[in-house]
């Protein structure tokens, strides 16, 4: 009888087992934490709300804009996921030029911090915001359509 059962229902058992394995797999996948950009040392620079693709082009300049440190192109070790890896910088401030929507801005960066040194905007609020070192409120230069934010989850969801 046992032999008969397997003979008759082998296909059913395989199908059910496949369903069970697939269901269990999906449940485990759903329960797994999804990868997020939780690194609080990555600075995202956006133009019109879209992240600038900070990568090295073939001629070894950054695109868009020039990312320059004292005339030398910043090394790719400072980039991660098209963001600036602030943790890779030293304690001494480096500066680079960034092409905004209207004019070039000067950005300052050091270990785990970033700021706007100069923008041609009239208000200079972006400069007045000073160093940014944690996620939350981004630096905005409305004139140049630029926002700079540190990625990740800060101590709170919103920072005023």
């Amino acid at each position: 009888m046992k032999k008969g059962f397997w003979k008759t229902h082998l296909g059913d058992v395989i199908v059910i087992s496949a369903f069970a394995v697939a269901s269990a797999g999906l449940c485990v996948w759903a329960a797994l934490p999804k990868s997020q950009e939780g690194n609080t040392h990555l600075a995202e620079i956006c133009l019109d709300g879209n992240r600038l693709d900070l990568t090295i082009s073939e001629d070894e300049t950054y695109d868009p804009g020039e990312v320059i440190d004292g005339g030398e192109v910043i090394s790719s070790i400072h980039l991660q996921n098209h963001c600036l890896n602030l943790a890779s910088f030293g304690d001494e401030e480096l500066s680079f030029a960034l092409q905004g929507a209207v004019s070039k801005m000067e950005i300052g960066v050091k270990k785990n911090e970033i700021r706007v040194i100069h923008s041609d905007c009239l208000s200079h609020y972006c400069e007045a915001q000073g160093w940014l070192s944690s996620p939350g409120r981004p630096i905005i230069c409305a004139y140049n359509h630029i926002s700079i934010a540190i990625l990740g989850q800060g101590e709170t969801d919103f920072v005023l």
Binding site: F5, G49, S123, H124, G136, A142, D157, L160
Partner: protein, 357 residues
């Protein structure tokens, strides 16, 4: 007997098969995930994230376009193609036709002027610009870019702005479906004041965006309009949202925020310290001064009961109001408030703050 046994096995297998199908399809049902979009409008970034099923980023963009729309309408600096904006009204010599949306925004600004006893005034733009210019000079001087010490705006200049503002009327009309706006003055020698909706447009747009979100039936969302206006839906899975202050009130946070609208006014970012006082774009339309007794205020209102545009106007007004006016408005409008000065809490009217250790 054999027949019955086979029948029984078939039933069991059938049941297991059905159960397996239920598990399988339950696992396959689309899971809601946080989706986020950002836009730049009204001199700041507007962030919207919502927990939705499927890719609905275009729906998020749809909501965010509310801010772009009202940014164009309220623009005082630039003209936009096929849009009659505030700049056009300011420059017109007579009534001009405007859109229904701009008509309603301007009407709302006049309502808020009344509600705030004139502490918010849509015609205070010239006065604000006068003090903005002073703040810019101070900033430049402090950075070493100006040799001569900056001087305060003269009494005559402040007086001129106040006179123009008080003698100018924003006339709104609707006739046969046509909406018009006009600035008139009863003192042609002093010139007209100009409209500036900077103190209200972001909150007004946030309220419209909130209404659109509700029409779409979204429950779990967070709308951050440049940190000065925040509208929060639910966030049940994570125990609500949390909020803190970077410069205005370091050392404090608020947790478990849900279904709430938040608005803040502060002189910290845009202001400058000169001779021991903070000066900024926030002006008192009644006196012409630009150095309030507090450096900022944040108010909280139940999302369903408080209008984000109203809250935006009131935060501006609360910077200048007396204690009795503040208490009366909080009770009438249904919001709670905290007031701070130079990074320290001055008054807490019912907000549940937690100290950050």
């Amino acid at each position: 007997m054999r027949y019955n046994a086979r029948m029984s096995n078939s039933k069991t297998i059938s049941k297991l098969l059905n159960l397996g199908m239920v598990f399988f399809f339950a696992s396959c049902s689309p899971e809601a995930s946080w989706q986020k979009r950002t836009t730049l409008a009204m001199d700041t970034t507007i962030n919207l994230r919502a927990k939705l099923t499927g890719d609905q980023t275009s729906e998020l963009d749809d909501v965010l376009s509310t801010f772009t729309h009202y940014h164009r309408l309220s623009d005082t600096a630039y003209s936009h193609t096929n849009v009659v904006d505030v700049k056009d009204i300011n420059e017109a010599n007579g009534p001009i036709e405007i859109s229904k949306d701009l008509y309603e925004l301007l009407s709302f600004s006049l309502e808020m002027k009344e509600a705030t006893s004139g502490y918010f005034n849509p015609l205070a733009g010239d006065l604000a610009n006068l003090w903005k210019g002073f703040a810019a000079e101070v900033r430049l001087y402090q950075e070493g870019g100006l040799e001569e010490e900056p001087s305060f705006p003269s009494e005559a200049a402040i007086s001129s702005c106040l006179n123009a503002m008080n003698n100018t009327t924003l006339v709104l009309n609707v006739d046969d479906g046509k909406y018009t706006a006009e600035l008139t003055t009863n003192d042609a020698n002093r010139g007209k004041a100009s409209i500036d909706l900077g103190g209200i447009a972001k909150g007004y747009a946030a309220e419209k965006a909130k209404q659109l979100i509700h029409e779409k039936g979204w429950d779990v969302y967070a709308l951050d309009a440049g940190s000065s206006t925040i509208v929060l839906g639910k966030n049940e899975t994570e125990g609500g949202y949390s909020l803190s202050w970077r410069d205005d009130l370091p050392g404090y946070k608020i947790e478990h925020l849900q279904d709430v609208s938040i608005s803040t006014s502060s002189v910290t970012v845009q202001g400058v310290k000169w001779q021991g006082k903070m000066y900024s774009h926030l002006v008192n339309p009644k006196t012409g001064e630009a150095s309030p007794s507090i450096t900022g205020v944040t108010i909280f209102g139940k999302k369903e009961e408080t209008d984000a545009g109203m809250m935006d106007a009131f935060t501006t007004a609360l910077m200048w109001a007396s204690d009795s006016e503040r208490n009366a408005w909080e009770e009438k409008q249904g919001f709670t408030a905290i007031y701070y000065l130079d990074g320290k809490l001055v008054e807490n009217h019912g907000v549940s703050l937690t100290e950050i250790s």
